[in-house]
């Protein structure tokens, strides 16, 4: 066993020496593997990052929350869109009925939104999401306040001109100031900042509070028609503990159909959307992108594998005399086999490691530019290294086998 370990160490040393001795050739050989591993790992890292963002967003939206809206989130094949166009949008008055008539809903909130420029003195930010909501919003969605407080029930009830702003808004219009108690201006009117949302980062569905200005719905109603489709009205309903989404959906369907006086044979004229639908939809998309990553990277790796096999054949040819001498000095077949296999695996691993390094740099760049988390995970690093080692093993096996089977007489004859 000790002898075997020593032989493995010795063959690894011969392999490493050969790699070091042929630097330029090594670099050129590795390009294929480097590009392949870079492509695969980059795609996987970006996918992982996106998936993480989407999962976080879904979590933030609430996996036990159902959204009552005009349009469904997921369209089936041959989607009859013309039937949906004439549907009514959810109304604020429907919220009261949902809260009072359903058994499954713990809390529900009405939401309407628009894009506005928000100003504070000479500072302003364009296209901020101005969102009006009702007082149970913080019971339906996770609300994390970093400064100040959330809007009180009294303020909601009276429609006071107060807002909670997102971190991005606060940074833009209050760069060096404490926003709490300051005034922001939209629709030509002033509103007092009572709180700032904790920074959340870019959400997968644009649902992050960072760019939000949240105000009581009754205050927003002074400027816009919150029941107009233009302002994307919707009702969010959160299930009571122990109630499944399906139970809540059945409950909500009954209440909504009654509210809208739909005949038994009539189709629903509302959509009950849940985050799991998005999740399933995204799983399908991620699977396709992941497959594309494997195919693109796979071809590069395949080419890289052929490159390694080719260079290993050259290496065997170049070192024929050394192989012969090693054999004549007592080296066994597996010693020669291991030596060349090591070389192929080391070559491939170096290529993979360089690919990973480049992927690391590119993901870091994308992360900083896109303000999203695309970091290289340990799983992806291990995947990259394992794929590299496997390619090295597969592409190096035939040359190594050939070397181990070389006739020592022929091998020594090639010795000058």
């Amino acid at each position: 066993m000790i002898l075997l370990a020593r032989l493995i160490k010795e063959s690894a040393r011969f392999a490493l020496n050969s790699v070091i001795a042929n630097k330029l050739r090594t670099i050129l050989t590795l390009l294929g593997i480097t590009i392949g591993i870079f492509s695969i790992i980059l795609v996987f890292s970006v996918l992982d990052g996106l998936e993480r963002q989407v999962r976080n967003s879904i979590q933030a939206l609430g996996d036990n929350v159902v959204y009552i809206q005009k349009w469904p989130w997921v369209f089936e094949d041959n989607f009859p869109w013309w039937r949906f166009v004439n549907r009514p949008v959810p109304q604020l008055r429907e919220l009261d009925a949902i809260q009072s008539r359903t058994f499954s809903v713990e809390a529900a909130a009405f939401l309407a939104s628009t894009s506005r420029t928000i100003e504070h003195q000479s500072n302003s930010i364009e296209n901020a999401a101005l969102v009006g909501t009702t007082f149970d919003y913080d019971k339906v969605r996770l609300v994390d306040i970093s400064e100040g407080r959330f809007i009180s029930p009294t303020e909601f009830g009276s429609g006071r001109n107060v807002v909670v702003i997102g971190a991005q808004i606060a940074e833009a219009i209050f760069p060096d100031l404490d926003p709490i108690g300051k005034q922001v201006k939209f629709f030509g009117r002033k509103a007092e900042v009572v709180g700032v949302f904790k920074k959340e980062g870019t959400g997968g569905f644009g649902d992050s509070h960072d760019n939000w200005v949240l105000t009581p719905i009754s205050y927003l109603n002074q400027f816009v028609d919150i029941n107009s489709e233009r302002y994307n009205p919707q009702i969010m309903a959160k299930a009571k503990p122990g109630i499944t989404n399906q139970e809540m959906i059945d409950d909500l369907t009954g209440v909504m159909r009654a509210l809208r006086r739909l005949k038994p044979a009539a189709d629903d004229n509302f959509a009950l959307n849940e985050t799991s639908l998005l999740s399933k939809q995204m799983d399908g998309v991620f699977a396709i992108i992941s497959m594309a990553g494997w195919i693109i990277g796979g071809f590069s790796i395949l080419v890289g594998g052929f490159g390694i096999a080719n260079i290993m054949f050259v290496s065997v040819r170049e070192r024929t005399s050394i192989i012969g001498i090693q054999k004549a000095l007592g080296a066994k077949k597996y010693f020669i086999l291991l030596q060349f296999l090591f070389e192929a695996i080391v070559l491939s691993l170096i290529g993979g490691a360089v690919g990973l390094l480049i992927a690391f740099g590119v993901t870091a760049l994308i992360s900083s530019l896109a303000n999203m988390d695309f970091n290289l995970t340990l799983g992806n690093i291990l995947l990259g290294l394992n794929v590299s080692a496997l390619i090295g093993l597969v592409s190096g096996f035939v040359p190594a086998w050939t070397a181990s089977r070389l006739d020592p007489v022929e091998a020594i004859r090639s010795n000058g």
Binding site: L7, S18, A328, V409
Partner: protein
């Protein structure tokens, strides 16, 4: 002792060795000489087991190599030291690592014991303070000495040398020849040398076997070679103007 009995070897129907019979004795330096294509390299390869003869016997200390099992052959191979033409050192290994290589392949010695053995062998070929140098950092003569040290690292009973002083200047070549001869006597090895070099023959040839067209044409000592009337041998020995002048 190596006993060769009626060895024949052909390649694609062309006979290269024809019924060669001879004896290489222990403690002596045995030289195989002959023109290029005479079959001396093939004979050497048959002796070290790199080629199998078509017929005949090769006896290592009365053991028939051709009839041995794989395991027994491996035991014999452990007792073979080989000195290749040009030295054939591994360029990527240091002098010390080159000498240790056969020990790594064949022995169960500890690293310390292997280092001791390598140092002993290097000192025996008069090489000091070169352990950590690479072959490219030492002279041709030193490379040959390292190769000899590597050949004797396993303390072999049989030493085979292929053109041991090719590429060396005459003075260094004689030093190497003498070193091989000394080691042969000191370790009581059976040494077989394949050479063209008449200087070597005259320096260390305890026994000389002359091959001509695959046949053992003549054998004797280095002293007898000068008195023979064998025409083919004389043509070989006195091929150069220098030797012809010396004869006159």
């Amino acid at each position: 002792m190596i006993k060769v009995e009626n060895i024949t070897k052909s390649f694609e129907g062309v006979p290269v060795l024809k019924e060669v019979t001879t004896l290489f004795e222990r403690g002596k330096t045995n030289l195989i000489i002959g023109q290029s294509g005479s079959g001396k390299t093939v004979l050497m390869k048959c002796l070290v087991g790199l080629l199998e003869s078509d017929s005949g016997k090769i006896m290592f200390d009365n053991l028939d190599f051709n009839k041995m099992s794989f395991a027994d052959r491996r035991i014999i191979r452990k007792q073979l030291g080989m000195l290749f033409q040009g030295g054939a050192l591994f360029d990527s290994l240091t002098v010390e690592e080159n000498v240790i290589f056969p020990l790594n392949m064949f022995s169960d010695l500890s690293q310390e014991e292997k280092l001791d053995r390598a140092n002993f062998c290097l000192q025996r070929v008069n090489l000091d303070n070169v352990n950590h140098l690479y072959p490219s950092e030492i002279s041709g003569g030193m490379k040959k000495r390292v190769a000899i040290a590597r050949a004797i690292a396993n303390n072999p009973s049989f030493l085979f040398c292929d053109e041991p002083n090719s590429g060396l200047d005459p003075r260094t070549a004689i030093v190497i020849d003498k070193l091989i001869s000394e080691i042969t006597q000191e370790f009581n090895m059976t040494t077989v040398i394949n050479t063209h070099d008449m200087n070597s023959v005259m320096e260390i040839g305890d026994k000389v076997a002359f091959l001509y067209k695959g046949e053992l044409w003549w054998e004797g000592t280095r002293f007898e070679i000068l008195d023979t009337d064998n025409k083919e041998l004389n043509d070989f020995v006195y091929a150069s103007e220098l030797m012809r002048t010396l004869k006159k």
